[in-house]
Amino acid sequence: MTDVLTVADLRAGYAGSTVLDGVDLSVPAGSFVALLGRNGAGKTTFMHTVMGLVKPYSGSVLVAGRELAGAATHTVARSGVAIVPQGRRVFAPLTVAENLGLAARRGARTWTLERVYELMPRLAERRGHRGDQLSGGEQQMLAIGRALLREPRLLLLDEPSDGLAPAVVDQVAELLEGLRGEGIAAVLVEQDLHLAFRLADEVAVMQKGRIVHRGPTADFRADRTRAHALLGVG
């Protein structure tokens, strides 16, 4: 299977400090990879570096064969990478319709506004409401809907369950599971291991800015000793 994302020896950080210390990770087209690790391991920095929000010191970021390490964020976005940031981060003063309108692309084939509203009817009901008038779950759906309207080949999901009630997490999980047949690949950073295991084909574990494990989700899940050693749980 062709890799939609290939990251090699990626080093990045903030103000001279190193957070990513030689990350190697590939994501096959259409597959979900859960990126796990303890707080401070570098997961969010990895997502931001792939997205172009953090400039790497060195290394390679290939998206569908195109080198994008150090490219401007809008270039990365236009190459088919979309991010659902941690904390949802919708445009608070804009309505649901305006939030989605910002992401909608002319001549979209797969993801149109109508399809997003069909997939998430709650957003259709709330389309005239401002972003900051939505519940946490609705904001998360809006953030996901906005990312889908970019017609991504790679989706970066940064803690989609963060701050959500268990019932709402289940709704978000169902929504993301529904995307699995759409040919979209995803990197999922998630503290909720149940959600990560439910969604991901493969698990990668990051420690101190490096990938220290990579394998099928079922194997990782079965080996509780390794999960405990790497994540402190299990």
């Binding site: 929000l53 401007a72 964020t73 991010i83 445009f91 509203y117 009817p121 005239g128």
Partner: protein, 330 residues
């Protein structure tokens, strides 16, 4: 109920609100248009100045309220428009429409020449850069003999329209300025409600997020900076059409500060609120000042402090709050 039906149900509220706004807008327009029929020459002249100044304030709101770029430089483009219109009036034609177009182009070109550097900064740095641009243009006007230097540019003949006789009566000039200001207001409102306006509001809210959606915020900011320059230049041309005299004081720091003050008082980003703010600011400065022993600026300062504490979102924010309460009750 399908998603489409739910969408239609929610959308049903919107036409009613839009119709209400349209009724208010038409009523205000009719009142403004009727003013010269019932008011004397002095109040009409005051209203003409307010309208021209409101166009400048509109340009400040476009940058400050809509795009999140607080500016102290718009008076420069207002001045460029005023001086250009006056020069056209003195040397080329008294036709107000030509002068207006010249003022628009002057504001646009001046903003295009100075904006590329300014839009790369944000926040206080942007504010200081625009202040520097404003003061530089002010210095040019104050020393350049072609535009009368510190004496200003006098001798502009009364405007005409489409080959007609000179418009000597205050009411006719007022109607011209009102018509032009309404067109500019409508054009700016259209821009703000367009996808480009949505982009600008997205940039105001979070620029990094906009980049992650594939936008290039610097380009959008440059575009709106040029547009705001054109709007300010138009305001300057209208100011010159009324005053028939332009001086460096018309593009000084005080004018820029008063325009920003009008936006804060009226409610940044609402467009109509800052226009009300413009009326309040000019009335206090020019009319109330005499009644309080020349302490108009002090009154303005007190109004500013009161607004910041009591109406942090300005007059427009107060109106929006009342509307939301009504909707909540119903």
């Amino acid at each position: 109920m399908s998603a489409a039906e739910r969408t239609q149900a929610v959308d049903g509220i919107r036409p009613r609100r839009t119709a209400g706004k349209a009724v208010v807008a038409v009523a205000v327009l009719l009142l403004l248009a009727a003013a010269p029929l019932v008011l004397g020459a002095y109040p009409v002249s005051t209203m003409t100045r307010i309208l021209a100044f409101a166009v400048l304030v509109l340009s400040v709101d476009l940058l400050t309220g809509v795009t999140g770029l607080p500016t102290l430089g718009q008076a420069a483009y207002f001045g460029a428009g005023a001086y250009t219109a006056a020069l056209v009036g003195i040397h080329l034609t008294s036709d107000a429409s030509v002068q207006l177009l010249a003022g628009l182009v002057a504001g646009l070109v001046t903003a295009a020449l100075t904006g590329w550097v300014a839009v790369r900064a944000r926040g206080v740095v942007f504010l200081m850069l625009t202040l520097a641009i404003g003061e530089s243009v002010h210095q040019v006007a104050d020393t350049w003999s072609v535009v009368g230097a510190s004496n200003g540019l006098a001798g502009m003949p009364p405007i005409t329209l489409f080959g007609g006789p000179p418009l000597l009566a205050a009411g006719f000039v007022y109607w011209w300025v009102l018509a032009a200001a309404v067109v500019v207001f409508a054009a700016v409102a259209l821009v703000v409600r367009s996808p480009y306006g949505r982009t600008l509001r997205g940039i105001r809210d979070n620029e990094a997020r906009m980049r992650a959606l594939g936008y290039r915020p610097a380009l959008a900011r440059y575009g709106v900076f040029c547009l705001a320059g054109a709007v300010a230049g138009t305001g300057g041309a209208l100011w010159a059409a009324h005053a028939r005299f332009v001086s460096p004081g018309d593009l000084g720091f005080e004018v820029a500060a008063l325009a920003l003050l009008s936006v804060v008082i009226g409610g940044a980003g609402s467009l109509w609120g800052p226009c009300l703010g413009a009326a309040l600011v000019l009335l206090v400065r020019d009319n109330l000042s005499a009644a309080v022993g020349g302490h108009g600026p002090l009154v303005l300062g007190l109004v500013f402090v009161a607004v910041v504490f009591l109406l942090p979102r300005g007059v427009a924010g107060l109106a929006a709050g009342i509307r939301r309460r009504k909707e909540g009750l119903s």
